[in-house]
């Protein structure tokens, strides 16, 4: 599992992904942690198959008892099917996940972890002195979907938005936006169902000060590529599966 520190300040952000040992027939995914002095938030913990390498990788940054919070943007198995395993490993943790999906996500196993339902209009997660904003991103692609914005680190974790299918050895940041577009186009057109939802999300996030867009699959966007991505997505017609 590759680990890349993407923010280092009073707290840290680390991106995990490109696991070389993952089975070929499951999609590669990015996981993130936000690490403060005594706590660790795991964003998009991943699927069951990734649990062991992910746990082993997180143990480079935090002891298991300090993994206190998990976040799932939506209900998909590549996002959170490992929940039943985290549930047995963590003794004192909370899962922040959409209220609408609670009854569904609990199918993965959630007995000891406290499920903190996120209301439709979002909320904030407080991790010691760090306040993370939970931004609504409904219908992108899931009907109840959230992203995480860190105003200090200026990172927006966007779940499925900005995702692309990449090989295990791909770089973690977009290097040439114009060629990267082709890796994203079909995914966004087919997975994202609503131009109206896309418009509402873009209007909301254009007001945020963002250095890095961090999606759940593929490469992250930084610097000028953030605006390039928003402009590209804004112009894209989605919902083409009908």
């Amino acid at each position: 599992m590759k680990m890349t520190k993407i923010y280092e300040g009073a707290h840290q952000w680390v991106m995990f992904g490109r696991d070389e040992n993952k089975p070929d027939n499951i999609i590669d995914s990015n996981q993130y942690i936000v690490r403060t002095a005594n706590k660790c938030l795991l964003l998009e913990p991943g699927g069951t198959e990734l649990f062991a390498p992910m746990m082993a990788a997180v143990l480079h940054h935090a002891p298991v008892e300090q993994i206190t919070d998990l976040f799932a943007s939506h209900q998909d198995p590549d996002v959170i099917s490992s929940l039943g395993l985290w549930d047995q490993a963590l003794s004192n943790a909370k899962l922040h996940a959409p209220a609408l999906w609670e009854g569904y996500i609990r199918h993965f196993g959630c007995e000891s972890i406290e499920y903190v339902p996120i209301p439709d209009n979002g909320e904030t997660i407080k991790l010691e002195s760090v306040e993370l904003q939970i931004i609504p991103a409904h219908y992108l692609h899931s009907p109840c979907n959230f992203h995480v914005y860190d105003p200090q680190a200026k990172i927006l974790m966007t779940g499925s938005v900005g995702s692309a299918w990449e090989s295990a050895g791909a770089p973690v940041f977009v290097e040439r936006f114009d060629t990267h577009v082709e890796k994203m186009r079909y995914y966004h057109q087919r997975w994202m169902p609503s131009n109206q939802a896309k418009r509402a999300w873009i209007d909301r996030v254009r007001n945020l000060d963002i250095d890095i867009i961090a999606p759940q699959h593929g490469r992250m966007f930084k610097g000028d590529d953030v605006k390039r991505f928003l402009d590209w997505f804004d112009a894209l017609q989605v919902g083409t599966g009908i």
Partner: protein
Amino acid sequence: MNSQTKSQFIAVASITSELSAVMVVAKEISLAAANAKAIAFRAGDKAKGFQPITDFINELAKETIELVTKINVYAILLYRLTVDEYRRTAAYNRFEQALKLANTNGARYADSMLDPTAHAKTVMQDCQRQFKRDVTQLLGQLEAVMHHARAARVIAANSRIEASQAGEYLQSLQAVAESVDKAAHTIHDNVQRCRIALSIYRNS
């Protein structure tokens, strides 16, 4: 999921299926008892010896139904325990894998996984022991149903003897005896299949 776990799931799930067939048959015996009672009543003195047998048949059918109902509840609990054991075992295996990976790669906090892994192992072993205890208990309950099936076959044999003295009612009462005997065979065979499927998991 390994083949032993698959077999365990199949064995536990098959109990409910076999027992639902037993339930149908036990209800048939109950009906046969009611039918026999009516025939014996019409036959009067000619079926005098048959009349108390009908009560035995009815009682046996009622007890079998009650027993199977209880076993079914128990079988559902055993199925839940099987699911739990599967989850616990999967977790323990993944924790061990994570610990090994963390140690191999020199993760700074690898040792913090020692306690969760040890705990997962204890819980998994508790589940396995509980499963064996519950299987042993279930086998005991299934033995009680087998005992009822054997008793039904004895009653069927007695019914045949009594039917032979019932004159023009002989055929009707023999049919009752046959249906009880057939039902007893079916119950015996179905329950025996459950016992064979479960016996490899019992406490030694």
